[in-house]
């Protein structure tokens, strides 16, 4: 039970926070003089409550305090994150507009020739990466597909039914490429309104599989509603829920194991699997419009890095972060953009077949 003293202390603390924030914004006490006292627009490319939104709201109070600025979160959902990404890319590079984007989604959109998708490398100043995780194949807990071998065996006699948000999404590309490497047939059920809706369909047994970012479906896996079967990466994730999970890439991964025996021993298949892992692993990045002054970009990057390291933040949440500074994040995205080209020959025919 909260005592009266605790409540009054809390109200006072909230008031102090607000007053403190107001003082900082007016007297410029932060480490970035150019941003102190300014109002920064933080664009989130999905609706309130989604993963990107949660990340932004976690960082918001800590960044406000450290930068001495006011951060206003703006949800611009739609078109698989492209609307929000475009809004960031088209804003003036004055440090007053930043946002979180999902690099895999942008890379895939560019791969598929989506004209509305900003160039992940050319249209943004990448400030840092804050999270990344591999895509994971997962089935419902009640499914008869208990292991990846069950899924692969079933997928050779009939098509595995996979729930996705839309044709052309990062999930669609992941499944198309990984299924081709594993030589299984898949049929897609597009149209789900989000990762969670599709995951529910798998948990319910309406579909065989989903394939999404592990961080997003982790709660379902932890609750026992979904069972992970395959990690689409080259090296194991450290999360205990993926311990011992088969890999798509890497030595003796599914791609190499099921590569055509008359070929190159699976080297090419491994390359494709690694390319897929690179594209998906390009992760969530905090970006600003192209042309942002380097000192402001560095300031954002170091401040966010410090915020993610702060004990208070990590204690307050179960989110797992994977910070990379501006230079490293940019190198990763550029490499992923190059690797994405290797996936084209798998994805284009699948798109053409589905779109008619």
């Amino acid at each position: 039970m909260i005592t009266r003293r605790q409540m009054l202390t809390r109200l006072a603390a909230a008031g102090v926070t607000a007053f403190d924030s107001a003082c900082r914004t007016s007297h410029g006490a932060g480490p970035c003089p150019a941003l102190s006292g300014r109002r920064i627009r933080w664009i989130v490319p999905n609706a309130a409550g989604g993963g990107y939104d949660t990340d932004a709201r976690l960082l918001q109070p800590i960044l406000e305090r450290r930068l001495g600025a006011e951060i206003v979160i703006e949800n611009l959902a739609g078109a698989g994150g492209l609307i929000g990404a475009r809004a960031i890319a088209e804003a003036p590079p004055d440090g007053l507009t930043v946002g979180i984007v999902g690099m895999p989604g942008l890379l895939v959109a560019r791969l598929l020739g989506e004209s509305a998708a900003p160039d992940p490398v050319g249209a943004f100043t990448i400030l840092c990466r804050i999270a990344r995780s591999a895509h994971v194949w997962a089935t419902g807990a009640k499914s008869t597909l208990q292991t990846i071998d069950d899924a692969l065996t079933a997928g050779r006699s009939r098509s595995l039914v996979v729930a996705i948000n839309e044709v052309g999404s990062a999930s669609f590309v992941s499944v198309t490429v990984s299924a081709a490497l594993a030589h299984v047939q898949v049929e897609f059920v597009p149209g789900f309104s989000g990762t969670r809706a599709a995951s529910l369909a798998a948990a319910r047994g309406d579909v065989d599989l989903v394939c999404f970012d592990f961080d997003t479906i982790r709660p379902f896996i932890a609750a026992g509603e979904l069972r992970p079967l395959l990690q689409l990466g080259a090296s194991p994730d450290s999360d205990e829920l993926l311990s011992g999970m088969p890999l798509l890439g890497g030595p003796n991964g599914i791609a190499e194991r099921f590569a055509h025996p008359a070929g190159d021993g699976g080297a090419h298949a491994r390359q494709v699997a690694d390319s897929l892992a690179h594209v998906i692993g390009s992760g969530r990045a905090v970006v600003a419009p192209k042309g942002l002054a380097p000192e402001i970009a560095d300031c954002f990057s170091s401040t966010i890095g410090q915020a993610l390291d702060s004990g208070g933040l990590l204690a307050a949440t179960t989110r797992a972060f994977d910070f990379a500074d501006s230079r490293r994040a940019r190198v990763d995205v550029e490499a992923a953009a190059l690797e994405a080209g290797r996936l084209r020959r798998f994805v284009e025919p699948a798109i053409a077949k589905l779109r008619g």
Binding site: R39, E70, V72, L354, R355, G356
Partner: protein, 148 residues
Amino acid sequence: MNTLSERTVLTTALTLAVAGFVVSSTTLGPAARTAPLVVGIPTLALVALALRRDAARAREPDPDNDRQRAIDERNLLGWLTLLVVLAAIAGVPIGVPLWLLLFLRIRSHESWTLGIAFSSGLMIVLLAVFTLLLRIDPMSGSVATWFS
């Protein structure tokens, strides 16, 4: 224009809108155009029938024709257009209260005191909502910000 003619114009506009959707659907891919065509074609048929009925009735004498009301309606539509223009030029927290002041004075023939009181009150509320609640630029949305 009498009431029956006006009704025909409305039905014509609705028919053209539906026809526009149907025609535009034919430029889409097979999957994307299915639902609009399945809905649009029967709707077009029904609205075309309604247009035929209304057009036939428009030739009859109209006992409900109220010319003064029609003038009043058009006057009000003009005011609504001005609302959009003022909001575009001056932003919502200033443009909308300004419109309110002009409307109360010119169309409603209210006193300056009342007009200023209501529009100031609205401006204060909107500025509070914009700056304290939503924390967005009060000029957000106005033409001025397009060039900033």
